[in-house]
């Protein structure tokens, strides 16, 4: 195996594009090193992106936040403005593992590892986050939900790297939340995860919403039908019941050691309701 730590994105792209065999990007390494250790992959090349300028920075601009691909969960949690604007995204990222993992794990890595149960991804998808991707033909920006295509598989082409995650600026009276079900109180992998982001008008009527589900399909799902149940409502019981039904209807889970299909479908509805209530409470300033 060869290890490289380039200082520019172009050098990183060139290394990844030019290497025959298995090449992997190393940011936090909390998935990559485990996969190497357990012999699931044996890369010929590992490109550490942490020395590239901007990769470890959170930039705040007129359009929102630009989070470098190597920013750790701990750094997200310490960023006050980000926590205030997108509490659901930060909470979801901070749910992943204990302090040791938070010191290293990144949301870009969580997206690119393409686990259907990745905690930060439903929150990012609900938030309308996008990813800046650098490749041999320049840069492109895509919605986060288009990156994972199945467990461990992404739409990234050879030589492409996620350089940053973008989170939009928040309109007033907006809130987001992420909830997951796990069979213990902390430190576990989601059986179901739900992210909700919404905006209310001055009368408390929902004007925009996005709902995303994790661990109920081969990848994280954006569910427009579930968002439709919220838009135009005051997030009342009737709207929440329609939201739950739409969320459950979108699930296509598998049975596995963490939960059955039936359980996941039901819980997706329950958590969608609770996450919408939590997001609405935040939008109301509570």
């Amino acid at each position: 195996m060869r290890y490289e730590a380039p200082t520019t994105i172009n050098a990183a792209v060139k290394l990844l594009a030019g290497k025959a065999g298995v090449a992997r990007v190393l940011a936090g390494g909390t998935d990559l090193l485990v996969q190497m250790r357990t012999d699931r992959i044996a890369p010929d090349l590992v490109v550490d992106v942490k020395r590239i300028a901007g990769m470890r920075a959170i930039a705040t601009g007129a359009k929102g936040f630009k989070i470098g691909a190597a920013v750790s969960g701990a750094e997200l949690g310490e960023h006050k403005a980000l926590r205030k604007a997108w509490p659901g995204v930060v909470e979801a990222a901070n749910l992943i593992g204990p302090k040791q993992i938070q010191s290293r794990a990144t949301i870009a890595g969580n997206v690119c590892n393409a686990s259907p149960a990745a905690d930060s991804v439903p929150a990012l998808v609900a938030a309308g986050a996008s990813a800046v991707i650098a490749g041999t033909k320049g840069k492109r920006t895509v919605p986060v939900e288009t990156i994972a295509v199945g467990p461990g598989r992404t739409s990234l082409k050879k030589g492409e790297i996620v350089e940053a995650i973008l989170l939009p600026k928040r309109p007033p009276r907006s809130g987001d939340a992420y909830l997951r079900f796990i069979p213990r109180s902390e430190m576990d992998i989601a059986v179901v995860g739900v992210g909700v982001s919404l905006t209310l008008d001055t009368k408390g009527v929902c004007t925009a919403a996005r709902v995303a589900l994790g661990a109920v399909a081969e990848r994280v799902l954006l569910v427009p039908e579930a968002a439709k149940a919220l838009i135009g409502s005051k997030i009342d019981d009737d709207a929440l019941a329609r939201l739950a039904a739409a969320a459950s209807a979108a699930c296509r889970p598998i049975d596995d050691k963490r939960g059955t299909k039936e359980f996941r479908i039901k819980i997706a509805g329950v958590l969608a309701k609770r996450a919408a209530q939590a997001a609405a409470a935040r939008a109301r300033g509570k």
Binding site: G29, L33, M36, P98, Q100
Partner: protein
Amino acid sequence: MTKINVSTTINGDAVDYLCDAESTLLDVLRDQLGLTGSKEGCGTGDCGACSVLVDGRVTCSCLVLGAEAEGRTILTVEGIAEGGKLHPLQEKFLEFAALQCGVCTPGFLVASKALLDRNPNPTEEEIRFGLAGNLCRCTGYDKIVRAVQAAAAEMRKG
């Protein structure tokens, strides 16, 4: 295969080493530098026995490549005591019998230090969260939590 030349700081000392690309920081610490305080429990970031501080943040050294340490500042359990005087956490772990077999203890000490460096007066819940990445199969955790509380109280006195 060519080795990678790494210059880093470990427990306050400038250290240079050559390592393979695949070697973890834990491999380098234990097998090349003789710093065997950090233990390998699981090798996959679940147990915390290999915890070290990298630039002040608690990290599983089994999930860091040796090559990544270039230019960083590393603290291992060997660097916690100062000049032969035990750190208050070490004193209190002994006093409260917060260890039995001892394999998890270096990781707990490093993680506890990271916690108290950022939060000198943690609640019990904050301690339990702060140490959730460290597994102990002997003590049931309670004595460890009491020892960290006692060390925090002592350190606040100065």
